[in-house]
Symmetry: C2
Subunit: 318 residues, 2 copies
């Protein structure tokens, strides 16, 4: 049966993700399935499938394994991130690190990376080069972020570079592979890649904003952790917060705080300083660029759905 509906495609991806976890080592199955079944948004594979359809593809089966690989990369990096961030909660459940400990979380992430190879093997050189590039950039972004967090300093340029590498690259890779598989011409492939790149940047900016103003229950994790750990758009530095989205010299971006409970007070100051609104405007600018890119994509229900995703990303609360 041909797969033509995105929802059916997403279900096929979820099934494949679970079926591909088939280790003879039970612990790897348990830990991998724990994080895979924790209700991720599947936004990256969603973009991959829609790009495939928008580029003219008519059987989502062709894209399911690639889109599952994209989600698997993302999930593996979450497991490794939670080690480095000492995160205890992920999507409202104990992180793999919290439940199985560091050693097994590291191996669980490595196992899922190995499964990415398996899922990508059928596609051949062009696609594997795109995937390799996305994975490399993702790790580079995580590394730059850790360097900045350690230095306790981040400026606007560094923040944008980090977001482009650690988040936008995988979105872009998902769309580029989907569009190529769908048989899109060069103009369509590039347009969908530009769309996804900018959507990815906006997605990460909103993520960083939610770390300050989000509802922990909706997010399934505590807020203020990026701030406390020197990550994200708002970085605590010497009792001030620096807004990575704006030059530090901008008055709205810096909030002085007391020594006591500095994170909570910084969050409160950020909320009333206008910094959040400034950040939202930046995210909106990226969303506008994403929408503009869709002008170069032929009209289709999939293109409408890609347009509608931009609203979901901008208005999400988790």
């Amino acid at each position: 049966m041909d797969l033509t509906l995105t929802q059916d495609g997403l279900r096929a991806i979820e099934t494949l993700l679970h079926d591909s976890i088939d280790s003879e080592v039970e612990l790897l199955n348990d830990a991998s399935r724990h994080i895979l079944s924790s209700g991720g948004k599947h936004l990256r594979p969603h973009v991959a499938l829609l790009a495939y359809l928008a580029a003219g593809g008519d059987d989502l089966h062709e894209a399911v394994s690639m889109a599952a690989a994209i989600e698997m990369v993302h999930t593996a990096t979450l497991v490794h991130d939670d080690i480095n961030d000492h995160a205890l909660l992920r999507r409202g459940r104990p992180s793999v690190h919290a439940r199985w400990g560091r050693t097994f979380a590291l191996l669980c992430g490595d196992y899922m990376f190995a499964k990415v190879y398996e899922l990508m093997a059928p596609y051949g050189p062009t696609y594997n080069v795109i995937m390799a590039r996305a994975c490399t950039q993702l790790v580079e972004g995580e590394t730059l972020q850790a360097v900045a967090a350690k230095a306790g300093a981040i400026d606007r340029e560094t923040y944008k570079r980090i977001v482009a590498l650690k988040t936008a690259s995988l979105f872009e890779g998902a769309a580029r592979m989907g569009a190529l598989l769908g048989g899109g011409d060069e103009r369509t492939v590039e347009a969908l890649a530009v769309y996804a790149y900018n959507l990815g940047i906006a997605f990460q900016m909103v993520d960083d904003i939610l770390d300050v103003v989000g509802d922990p229950a909706a997010l399934g994790k505590p807020v203020g952790t990026d701030l406390a750990q020197g990550r994200g758009a708002f970085v605590a530095q010497n009792g001030k917060t620096i807004l990575g989205l704006q030059p530090a010299a901008d008055g709205a971006a810096v909030a002085e705080v007391d020594e006591e409970d500095p994170i909570a007070r910084m969050m409160s100051k950020l909320r009333s300083s206008g910094a959040i609104e400034a950040a939202r405007l930046q995210a909106l600018e990226m969303i506008d660029r994403a929408r503009l890119a869709l002008d170069d994509v032929p009209p289709s229900p999939a293109r409408d759905e890609l347009l509608s995703l931009t609203n979901d990303v901008l208005n999400r609360d988790h």
Copy 2:
């Protein structure tokens, strides 16, 4: 210029490994080159190149990128292993973990895994499936080892399963890919795969023996660490050592020790108990199987070199 000599091929691999580390993030270059330039034996890529030649290949350029990918996988797992083992020394130099800390060691390993994709991308599905399988098994072996170490117990079957997964699988994958690239017929490919699998098991057994009887200066790392951490052929358990190579009921394999400085005393007892000789016999048995497999490979200088490698593995001191 055609590459026909193994030594030239190994130099080409070393060059490619270094050239492929080209991140815009300096820390990733520094950490990756630190471990890559620390003088590894390059045994796995050596097997890959020889399998290529023994199967009839006549231009090693074809196999260089694959063989480099094999070495890159191995190196990435060393970096991650050293995190989990808290190892401070690797090949006589500080481990990446010791020098850059856990967060960056984890990301450095992930970066090198991403580079494996890039190196393997040109080869297409058949080869990427073999590589994916080898990577998966490697992680499974590491996980089983960590499970056994945590439980403080290992039996002969578990030990052999761990060694097959964590070490022999990558040797086998290297030979299988090399033989296929070299255009070997099915019988030759299988023979070279069986050779490498058994060579890999013997290599790991000798490694575990060297942890007890080796010279730390020659090894570039302390001895007794596997024993202390419940890994390898000899596992400390309740003040006794259990020899993974022999059923625990075998008197020669169990050495009771004092509570004071238990590891040093266990090592001493192991050396005088006959357990080391028993383990060497097991390694020799695997080497014999490797040699036997070469009977199904057409005679050639490369086959002679593969035969000679079996002696190197058995008699190595580091």
